[in-house]
Amino acid sequence: MALLEALNLKKYYGKGSYLVKAVDDISFGIDEGEFVAVVGTSGSGKTTLLNLLGGLDTADSGKVVIRGKSLLELGDEERTVFRRRNIGFVFQNYNLLPEADVYQNIILPIRLDGSKNVDEEYVAGLIEKLGLGDKLRVRPNQLSGGQQQRVAIARALSTKPAIVLADEPTGNLDSETSGQVMELLQRTLKDLGQTMVMITHNEAVAAEADRILHIKDGKLIKE
């Protein structure tokens, strides 16, 4: 059974002559441990698709099933909790808490889950893998873009999610840093056996993926 299944997903905006089919009847599955790249031109519906997969947005029709649980059947609160425990997000603009230090940012989802017991060994391992050991007490605004993105990756992985959804994680980085971050990301995910879906414009990055989903005008045109 696939870890994640998208079944006939549709998301439309507006109506009549202003109707925009952001996601138009897309279906696919992702197995555990797979690295899937989603590519397409601007406005093709990539981000909308990612948001639907992560439960940040609700589809007008269709299903998203993760580990056998349909997101659409969950209420807002349940979906949030499910997202917290099973999905890790990496955004293009990092979205870190500016007033918290690196360590606090990393364990934020764990703390939101009310867990008093942080798996220190696991988190320490993450920190080491992502080269953040000497930055733990530093605030995000004192870090470079690449370093901030590494913090965001660590945060996404801190709850040992079922799947990581990354929306152009290197979009705000220069090519050299992009390369470094991508290398780190892929290595970490491989080491942890993590499943990832990544939106990217970077052909080199897409080439590293196990599978590429091509989206155009809201439709999945080829895999």
């Binding site: 940040l56 947005d57 909790v81 917290r84 955004f91 934020l108 889950d113």
Partner: protein
Amino acid sequence: MFCKNRQKQILKELATQQLSSHRSRNLVMVIAIALTALLLSFVFTAGLSFIATMRESSEAAPGPYEDGAVIGTPDHYEKIVQMENVEWADLVLSCSSSSLKNDEFAGIQTELLAPDEGYYCHNKIMPVSGTYPQDSNDIMISDTLAERLGIENAGGQLLLYVVVTSDNGSKEETAVPMEICGVYGNPIKNLSSIYEEIYTAAGFIQWKNPCLEAGRDYIYIKFNDLNPLALKSDVYSKLEQIRQEVGANYVQTRHYNNFLYSLLMVVPVILPALLIVVSGYFLIYNVFSISITMDVEWFGMMKTIGATQKQMIYIYRRQIWILSLAGMSAGICFGYLLGLVLSPRILAMTSFTMYFKGANAVVVAAFTFLFTTVTLRIGSLGIIRKAASLSPVDAARYVPHKRKKLVTVLSVSLSGIIFVAVGNAVFGYNVDTEVERHNQEECRILHHANFEALEDEYHPIRYETYEQVKALPFVQDVDVIYKGRTMPDEMDMAGMELYYRFYAQIRQSGALKREVDAILAVSGGADTLYFADNGDIKLEISGIGVDRLESESEYFHVIEGEVDSTLFAQGDYILYQSPSYKYIMETIQDSNKVHAGDNLTIDFYDDTMERYLTKTFTVMAVMEGDDPYAAGNLSLSNIVMNDDIFKEIYPNYKSHIAAMEVRSQRPLDEREVEQIKAIIRKEHNSQISIETRSEDRTYYTQEKNSVLIIGLFFSSVLGLIGISNLVNTIVMDVVFRKSQIAMLQSIGMTRKQLCRMLFKDSMRLGSIAIVIILTVGWFMAANVSSLFTGFDFRAYVWESMGIVVFFAAAAGILAVRMTEWLNKKTIVERLRNG
């Protein structure tokens, strides 16, 4: 020119469009401006009414349109009228040796005067009926006196009880029938409950009072060289200069001799106004911060399409102008009306209530407009300029400057402190405490000579009055406090002929003389010692019954010795208080002072028997008066003895009644008080006052209501400003963190957790404010409440709980509403826009 006009037109249209698309913002702005304007308008109305009232009270004196008077003779007048700096001088002849003694005038000082024509003209005294007095038996009375007497028009007779001086210098009351030739409009109406003038012709003096002493006439003066900036504080010195030059007796003016005092009148207006401007500034600044944060994209977009900074500022300021007109109009109108309603209540707590004059509406509106405009300008211009200066790119990335929360905390704390301080004074105000402070018994009949020198000859409380009051069925007993008074009792104070308080003459000897000598050696004249011509000292000697001692001892404290009723009853023990100031006594050696246990042999002089009576006493206790509310009768007494001994020393003790404390088993009602007052009125003695618990209760109940209304008003409005500041700051903080919050929700923060986080954030802010409010508020409450009935701990506890509950409720409601508001847009939308 044409293009410029069209540009302006476009800007006006854009302003109108923006205005109509921001309804809730407009409402908040109008409310903020209206609140500020309302408070300012109220303060200016109350403050300017206060100034007008004070001016009215100072103008409301005899010779209201003159600067003051020199008291002298017609010869002095002839010299004064020639002086260069005197614009005019009017002569008013005194016709009676004392104020008139009619029963109908009881409680009102009524003078019989013969003014010259100039006095009538300059003080706008014109007959509303009849004519000016021409003949010696003509009188013109005021319309206020006519109303009191039930007289409608001129005509008819009035019997005046004039005090006439006989050729041997003695004074006696004489009934003189007079014809009422005219009724005049009283220019000093406000004084009519305590002072009236009846005018007659100068011929009256020769006809009925030819032996009247010279030098008692009034020469009213108007100066032509007063310094306008001195606010009339130079009047007294100019009058005094004239007095010395012509050799007149003394001067009289209502203008304060202290420029600073005149300035102090405007402080009650300026200080609160500044306080409100500061509070209003915080409020308006907060409102604008939110509005502009929400509109920053508009600024960026306008910049992108080519609007200049000036044009954007114009668009925004035009909207502010329109909104402020609405807010200010409402605020000014309501504030003015409230001020007119509440100002008399404020002034009712002072002695100026009868002079109340409302503030001019135009002046109030002008001041309010000015101050509100200034506040608006300061609160809005900076932030609008900053937003308008942003480049399109910066506008897209705009993160509003995180306003220092400390300032908001201080602003909220300010409102809270005022609430606690005013609230404690208001809610802790205890009418019974005030009544008990000012009264020992249900009623006290008091001679003025207890506490001040007299302007007229001493008229004692008749012993029959004491007997009549005691005989009343509801009176349990009457305790008499006697005080010695040795004749002659005239004194000269700064050229004014007055009569001493209750002072009795004793020969200096022994320990008493030693102490007096020591006082004179150190005081350099800065003491309060009076001496007779033969060197005897004048002291206040009191005689009270043993039963009275315990009550009176609450109003002094014992420095040495002990108060013992048994010893006091024996008659040879006294209480002693030194006759000089405390600061002088502190510099005197102990060995020179009178101490408890000392034997004092005192020679008391009795002027009726023309003899000294020697008595030896033991000083039971040395005391010091402690009577801030003047409820006691002995706080100024130097020697207090058993009244039996007093009667031995002063056989004419029946003329020495200083006060009577009337005891009853239950509180006196209005009818019973009126019975006592009727007995006092028959005394026909303006030197007697009556104080009752029941009247005080009514007065302090009214004062409490006034304090309550005013306090609640101030607390409410300032509280509203504080709440608005708090809400605005919290809301702005959430708006600022919109995208951050979206991120938190994207990584798994539930709505409940979000709500809880917002609640904690608000309470963090609130906690600091609460600590400041409760600590500083305690201090302020203690000080403000001390002006009334003192700090009320229970009221403070309730207020504290109320504040904590309020903050928690506000934080809770805000957390819930802000969570709802945030989630109106999806996480995705907020992330995208963030």
